[in-house]
């Protein structure tokens, strides 16, 4: 499949005005037949989801944006591997979460961790958190204290609202594991919240 020239093509020249009304599965079918506007529609439709999911896991604006971009590049390159029986968003979440977990793993070495800590404290402030209310800011801070494996579950289930079975599909674990981690993650969040703001806060 060829993709158009770099730059923003004039909207009037795009071939598929009806793309925006199509379901994700139909857009994927069009993508496979070489319709790059269909791909662009998918990107536009899911960019916020990919970005904020990555951001809530890795807690860095730059990394989250890179992860979201890389996720869509993989969608484009591996679209033939997408299973139509699965929801497109589940597949996208899988890619985003895997990239985010890889990102967290890379940070495990102390030097990288130090760099990321600096990046988080700097770039998470004015850029990505500019639009958060005070309450959202507090939630975001407490969420950061929850260990990675539980935070990912909270992001997918409680923040993005995916059904438990879809969370299990995204993480490639069974339903019982999701339930356990979800319960544990919520308890950890609650403890951290109460430790910081008191039992009755918010």
């Amino acid at each position: 499949m060829e993709i158009g020239p770099v730059g923003d093509p004039p909207r009037g020249k795009r071939s598929c005005f009806g793309d925006r009304n199509l379901a994700d599965g139909d857009l994927v079918l069009r993508m496979r037949s070489g319709d790059t506007d269909a791909f662009r529609t998918l990107v536009e439709r899911h960019t916020n989801k990919a970005y904020w999911t990555a951001y809530n896991v890795v807690r860095s604006h730059e990394d989250a944006q890179d992860i979201a971009q890389e996720a869509f590049i993989r969608v484009y390159r591996f679209i033939d591997r997408y299973d139509n029986r699965q929801r497109f968003s589940t597949w996208l979440y899988q890619i985003v979460v895997n990239l985010a977990i890889d990102n967290l793993r890379r940070r495990k070495n102390p030097a990288a961790l130090e760099r990321v800590a600096e990046a988080v404290s700097e770039d998470a402030g004015p850029v990505a958190r500019a639009e958060l209310t005070e309450q959202q800011e507090r939630v975001w801070e407490v969420l950061g204290s929850v260990p990675d494996q539980y935070r990912v579950i909270l992001v997918l289930r409680d923040i993005e609202g995916l059904p438990s079975q879809e969370v299990a599909d995204v993480l490639n674990v069974n339903h019982a594991t999701v339930r356990w981690r979800l319960h544990r993650g919520r308890a950890l969040f609650k403890d951290a919240w109460e430790a910081r703001f008191g039992p009755g806060a918010g």
Partner: protein, 179 residues
Amino acid sequence: MNDRAASCRDIRDLIDLFVSEDLEPWEADAVGLHMGRCEACRAEADACRRQHERLASLSSSQLPSQVSPFFWQGIQREILMGDQEADEAPEAAAAAPGRRRALRPIMYALAALVLAAVTLIAAAALFGDAGTAPAVPRDGIVYGGGEVSGETIPQEVPFISEGGLAPAGRPEDEKEIEL
């Protein structure tokens, strides 16, 4: 009383899952039945709902876009680059994407060797035998007043200075090279 306490302990770990509707039907029935008569567990369920609302406030559907205005262009650029690499060597790219990158140093070394060999041969041709050196093609550039385009320059006309590659001072009657 003991029965009720045991029952609270039993369901306490299920309340958050009850609130988010992640229980099996028979579990949900049991928890619902218990909460109908237990104020403490109802309060716990309310706390779980408040926490759920807090977390849901960070949903992507609640938050504005934060990506760069050039987000799409970045994707396009990466994809175009990938397509160009695949066009150059589709089989190699498909079989081993990293192979060409690994071969690059060898290719550069080979190119350097070929360039060095060509330079040595040219130098040998020019300076190897000053007395009987062959005439040099002149490419239409006039030195020393001779004007024979397409012919050869007699060897006594300086072509390269004694110091090496720096050209000798331009002869007074040399014409400007027209490019």
